[in-house]
Symmetry: C2
Subunit: 197 residues, 2 copies
């Protein structure tokens, strides 16, 4: 029985047999109701979670809580690779628009082409609200695959006359110039901004 639970926990990515045993013994020491709450939350997630029909974010029903929130600006769409990125941006508390989750990135090496992502759905969304009042923020990673995907999406949505932006790149806050890589530092200089003290 202990072995079954340890094996089950060790099947999670990044959890070894030793950690799994430690976690199993931890759960064994908890009140039964806490453990049932834990397993119940996971079962509910797996059984009931679905994807928002608009933005492909994980949702409790056909529309996610962000798309359903009338206080958010539905004409600002932030395009991200995955659900983790939505959570990261939400955690900043700086963004009040909506999202579009691609579900991956264009990567020929990993066999991911445009049709494997939700780019068609994004284009449909954008075509329904064309014009410069709509902004699409391409918040993809800064590597070759991210840049390729951004460029591909840009070409698809440019005809609708929407504003297309991308994340500011440069030195992180608190970063030391001495340890910054040359590409980042170079872009930071090129994209320098007016100093507002």
């Amino acid at each position: 029985m202990l072995e079954d639970a340890v094996d089950a926990i060790a099947s999670l990515p990044g959890v070894g047999q030793r950690s799994a045993l430690r976690l199993a013994l931890h759960l064994l020491r908890q009140p039964a109701e806490n453990v049932h709450h834990f397993t119940g939350a996971i079962d509910r997630l797996r059984d009931e979670a679905c994807y928002c029909h608009t933005c492909m974010m994980i949702a409790d029903g056909p529309q996610c809580s962000i798309c359903a929130d009338r206080s958010r600006d539905s004409r600002t769409i932030c395009v991200v690779e995955n659900v983790r990125d939505v959570m990261s941006i939400e955690n900043t508390g700086q963004y009040h628009g909506v999202y579009h989750v691609l579900g991956g990135i264009i990567s020929p090496i990993n066999g991911m082409g445009p049709s494997d992502l939700s780019i068609r759905q994004l284009v449909e969304r954008v075509s329904a609200m064309e014009g410069p009042q709509t902004e699409v923020i391409l918040a993809l990673s800064g590597d070759v695959e991210g840049e390729t995907t951004s460029f591909y999406i840009y070409r698809q949505i440019a005809p609708y006359g929407v504003k297309v932006s991308t994340l500011a790149r440069g030195l992180g806050f608190g970063d030391d110039l001495e340890y910054a890589d040359e590409l980042t530092l170079g872009r930071s200089i090129a994209n320098r901004q007016i100093f507002k003290p």
Copy 2:
């Protein structure tokens, strides 16, 4: 729903919000039956696991699989601090006796006294099979608390005339002399053994 599952997973010791999100998204990608197997194994462990009446190991019923195994030497009792230690020794495949799980170690700082451990049960076990054919191996940690507990148990069981042994201590296999601490190296020399090539 996602938040509930992430919070539940993040309640595990050593799992942060970021890892919890990663694990929740992993579980969401698995087939539902795998996830139910995972949560079921944990529920069963919590609901059905009990402690072996003889050795205090986690068991499926009143007797654990080790105590129930007739091929094991029930007159050799290895005394360990916790269930993890049993698993570690079992994994070596070098031990064919039985165990006694103390459930902790004598530690006045942490408020653990002899009566908080299963020492009374151990003494009862030993008293039922006194004499030199019985061996009690004190497999406790080598720190002050471990030594104190070993000495306390030794005094309790010595009157029954059983053989009492402890784990060999010395350099680990593959250890470099240069980096060994002086205490370990000193004991390794004092407890040197006949070279058997």
